[in-house]
Symmetry: C2
Subunit: 506 residues, 2 copies
């Protein structure tokens, strides 16, 4: 057995041991561990990594001394050991937790998800993966949605670099590769052993999760989706359960993992609500760290009020209005609202993938001032065939810089985040600090409206510092202090906001 | 009695006679006329025009010889006469009627309302009125909404050129003239005789209706509204009824008159549904020409399914989505849908008055392809204080030229107009010719979406002529003929449309 004696808090402790290789170790043998410190005692499942190697991973939540024992049918031997957990280094705030309608890291630092989507970036050739990480290092986003299973969909009909199971994939019919619609559904010619995982596939995903962790980016892992020619979306309940358990055993010790149960769960026609609820039961039982859990819709929303769901992961269900429903979703579900799909900046032939940077950034702001969160995606139809939304790579749009600008503003919110303040009729949407009575902090966002000035009145004798924010040109202009009835001049352009801070008289 | 012996069909025949001046001729004496030709027999009410003059107006619907008799308590004398009605000259198609979800002139020519709003343009000084008519002569619009009563509202606090009643208005409190909100409601100091109309006021409006008629523009006359410091919105039922009867007697012989019962009827807090229904009864009884009738909302829509309402006159009830509800309104009310207020191009401080030209034109197109109609308005905060939406004058925005471009396209629709074709999910909205089975005429509108191409398939062996329409840059590009599965290239910009015409093989 090999392991390190010194581990950072909320990082991965890993014990590697040799064990039985006969029969099918993925299903016939087990390995488990119990980890104890002064403050916690946690039981975790390990997994078979191929070639006679079994691995146990554990994420310590305290900077304390830990003792562990490892046991199972994989080996006659039972292991004992101990290691020291040291306090975090900069940039490690622990896993993300829900706080009211918002999020925070386990160390209490606010976390405002500003996500992107690149469904199978980790299954592209090495050079594109590398590019993706370089792009993400620019700090535009702090969450990325991607899939464990490979994806078969428009612009992404090629084979992934690895498959999750032993076996051989169907051949892609070359004559039809330009048209996904001709190739919908499971194709003939697949030959998979769904009882034997391909460890290389999962090792690659772990490497990706870890690389994202280094960049301070949450890995919103999508466990299931319907865009499939190989049959991974139509396995039996037993095969599904084995997959979920394997994924949890492998990935849950990574603090930046979120469980997104599905992309467009309602397109997985062979799965029922009972199936999703059974997966939830497995996750609740086997993930000892309580990573965030969500399930994302296509047309019909899942009931986000189910107790196992930590936050809403929503795809727009209307072409014209989506982020504007944020407050309605907050009220309906009583949970954080993350609008994970609100159309992408791009120019492809599909309506979900060809809005402007302005419109995407507007949707981010509309969600944000209402106390919700939005997710980016980019779909430019390029000659190299590399589209961020599917493959990662480079970004060409105008929205990422503006989203980064918004992220910085969200990080200045007092308290956990914003909520929508009741506003006068049709004129504006106003965000104020959530969970705080009179926060004295207001963001008036005007979206596609273009007022040349706005009048304010709060109460006599109270002074506000005012800033004019150009959300598109990314400027924040201090326009002075005001009290009583006052007017702020604006340029009469779209995408402007006014931020007011009550001046404390200390 | 004076009258002309030769009248154009659907124009105003007018008989002017002298009568009693004692007591209060507006209420104490009546004058009526009966007009008969081979094809119709119509009874109309006349009105008192002051200075002992009574007038009877009549609009002949047939090019025939008419005989008439005029009688009433206004005079002991009974008059008889006759006149010849000649067939229309170019540009006169008769009054506008409803045809299914659309409109047509009485001569059967299609009429697609493309309106604007200038609430009290006719109550501004002569030079601005003149400017307004010059602007309208550019042919941007074929309908204009305006009020009979003067308007007291932001940007329009000055006195009108005339008042509808004898008496004196309240003085405007000079200190507060910059702020309508300080001056809401009826102000003290008004002294009106609500039993005596001011004929000059109504003569001016007639002149305006006639001038619009010359330009081929429908006068969508707003009879009541709440923006009032004089008390015209809070008269008694008897005073209201006298007003409605007087307006009908004076104006209904003008073929281009529409009756808009109110602007924002729900803001007239002293009026009940019973009041509106009573006015409707009066109009039905006293307007022999059946001019179009509508009633426009602020927040709560009137029940447009009421039989007296000929078409829906709708103000948006949502900031983000309005024209997109057109098909829902058609289904709900079963009548033409005219979106008479969907925010204005401008830059004032109010959200309803500061959208871009792009957004306003987009809303026109969204309404149009769904088989509805939209109305323009412009609110730029100018140093001269003249805002089109209230005063008329000149237009400074980018939308009017584009609206005119749309109007020309609507006029090319086969049949009465468009309706929304069921479209695939989120990608587009498609208009097709209404009332026609397979019209072979399709407009695919992409709004804020920016596809770089679109794929089509109707049926094998049928050829379509395709045009790419840039609704903002106002170009129509013939891109050839296609059949089977075909792809049309697009520039990946916003506000594009594709029009397809089935090619007839004669």
């Amino acid at each position: 057995m090999k392991y390190r004696k010194l581990v950072e808090r909320w990082c991965v402790f890993e014990a590697v041991l040799e064990g039985r290789e006969d029969k099918n170790p993925f299903v016939d043998y087990k390995v488990q561990g119990i980890f104890s410190s002064r403050s916690e005692k946690v039981m975790v499942n390990g997994f078979y990594d191929g070639s006679g190697i079994y691995i146990i991973r554990f994420m310590p939540s305290f900077a304390e001394e830990y003792h562990f024992s490892i046991f199972g049918t994989c080996s006659k031997q039972q292991y004992e050991g101990s290691f020291e957990v040291f306090e975090v280094k900069e940039g490690n705030h622990g896993p993300v937790r829900v706080r009211g309608y918002h999020f925070e890291y386990e160390d209490g630092t606010s976390y405002h998800p500003v996500g992107t989507t690149a469904y199978v970036w980790e299954l592209q050739e090495e050079s594109i993966q590398h590019q993706t990480l370089e792009t993400l290092a620019q700090g535009y986003f702090n969450k990325i949605r991607f899939c464990i299973f490979p994806k078969h969909y428009q612009y992404n009909l090629h084979d992934p670099i690895s498959y999750p199971y032993e076996g051989t994939p169907c051949k892609l019919n070359d004559e039809k590769t330009d048209d996904y619609y001709q190739l919908r559904g499971i194709q003939p010619g697949n030959d998979w052993d769904f009882t034997r995982f391909n460890p290389v596939h999962f090792q690659n995903i772990e490497k990706s999760i870890a690389a994202l962790g280094e960049l301070g980016i949450e890995a919103d892992l999508i466990l299931m989706h319907a865009y499939d020619r190989w049959g991974f979306s139509q396995m039996s309940p037993e095969q599904d359960d084995q997959y979920w358990r394997y994924v949890i055993a492998r990935f849950s010790a990574y603090r930046n993992v979120w469980w997104s149960f599905a992309n467009e769960y309602d397109l997985l026609k062979s799965k029922t609500v009972q199936d999703w609820e059974r997966y939830a039961q497995i996750v609740l039982e086997e993930d000892p760290y309580h990573h965030l859990r969500s399930i994302h819709n296509c047309v019909s929303m899942y009931d986000h009020s189910r107790p196992w769901i930590t936050h809403c992961s929503i795809q727009r269900i209307d072409v014209y209005k989506c982020a504007e429903y944020t407050d309605d979703y907050r009220k309906r579900y009583g949970k954080p609202v993350v609008l994970d799909e609100i159309a992408y900046e791009g120019n492809i032939d599909q309506g979900w993938g060809n809005i402007s940077g302005q419109e995407l950034v507007r949707r981010f702001w509309e969600a944000s001032v209402r106390g919700g969160y939005a997710t980016h995606g980019e779909t430019f139809d390029r000659s190299d065939g590399v589209l961020w939304w599917s493959h990662g790579g480079m970004l060409y749009g105008e929205s990422p810089e503006r989203i980064k600008f918004l992220k910085a503003i969200l990080d200045e919110t007092p308290g956990a985040g914003l909520r929508q303040k009741q506003s006068w009729f049709f004129d504006e949407v106003v965000g104020t600090a959530d969970e705080i009575g009179d926060s004295g902090y207001y963001i008036y966002y005007y979206g596609f409206n273009r007022p040349n000035r706005r009048k304010f009145y709060f109460q006599d004798g109270v002074t506000y510092k005012a800033e004019v924010i150009d959300t598109w040109n990314m400027t924040i202009t201090d326009v002075g202090e005001y009290s009583g009835i006052f007017t702020i001049q604006l340029p009469g352009r779209e995408y402007m906001a006014i931020r007011l801070w009550k001046v404390n008289r200390a």
